[in-house]
Assembly symmetry: C2
Homo-oligomer: 141 residues x 2
DNA sequence: ATGGCTGCAAACAGTTTGCATGCCC
DNA sequence: GGGCATGCAAACTGTTTGCAGCCAT
């Protein structure tokens, strides 16, 4: 299926609904800079909607990722994290606690044309992740 | 407990043993360039040792990673992959089937000093992963 | 013979999914 | 009021772990 379609004029399609849950999930995600995991976000959302289920959080995150409203971060570590800021930027992950922060400066472009891929492989892009130590973990190491 | 102890001169320590399982696991890993997942490797190893358990594969991979004999690849996707080649190099992951190949040319150094990390964060390194489409996935797309 | 290692299976963690009901459009 | 979305819980996937016996040193 095409991943980039223009907004149809009036054709009838399965329209996503803006439920209270979806709104709060998105609001909470945008209200933090901590790139929360699904259950961290779940905990926050429960502050406003005590009965949301973790499954609903996952389903909505999935929907919004597919719509291109938020971004799913598949960095190292066992859990996925989510980012409400769509402006392209890179991330630093703390090797101590696993927290993730934005790297303000844009990662200097990795020049794909300079990379010699394996024969027959078509190079499409790259993922860059920085590793570091956050302020808290520096003090308690 | 301290996470970093110097090697004692002659103190008695728990010595790793070279069991048949460990040898075969390492041999199989080194015999392929496919960066197998734990269960792919498990399947291969079973060709020689039909009764090895998946748990043993995981345990041995873990031991060898800690010894620095092999490398664990935490790329995108749900499973970890393992690499028997220790020479530093980057990887391309196929967005279609998830297979992983080596990028022959060394990724051009990402200059960490040029990256402005978040305040208080200490930058330590980076992980770079390329994305692409493998020959098979190009034909059947 | 000693204690690290094995096979087995159960436990875990993170995520996905089936189903009956609820609620946005 | 139709049908996407929800809550709940069970299922799934990948990985880790407890235990009794095994085997490399």
């Amino acid at each position: 299926m095409s991943s980039h379609e223009s907004i149809a004029t009036h054709e009838k399609r399965a329209l996503p609904r803006m439920t209270r849950q979806r709104r709060v999930i998105l609001d909470e995600l945008r209200a933090t800079t901590s790139h929360p995991t699904a259950d961290e976000l779940h905990a926050r959302v429960r502050g406003q909607l005590p009965h949301v289920s973790l499954g609903t959080v996952y389903r909505n995150l999935d929907v919004m990722v597919k719509k291109g409203v938020i971004r799913k971060l598949e960095l190292g570590g066992s859990q996925c994290r989510y980012d409400g800021r769509m402006m392209p930027h890179d991330h630093v992950r703390c090797v101590g606690c696993g927290c993730v922060a934005d790297v303000p400066s844009p990662g200097q472009a990795v020049d794909i044309s300079a990379v010699q891929g394996p024969p027959g492989f078509r190079l499409l892009g790259h993922r860059l992740e920085f590793l570091g130590e956050c302020p808290q973990c520096q003090t308690c190491s």
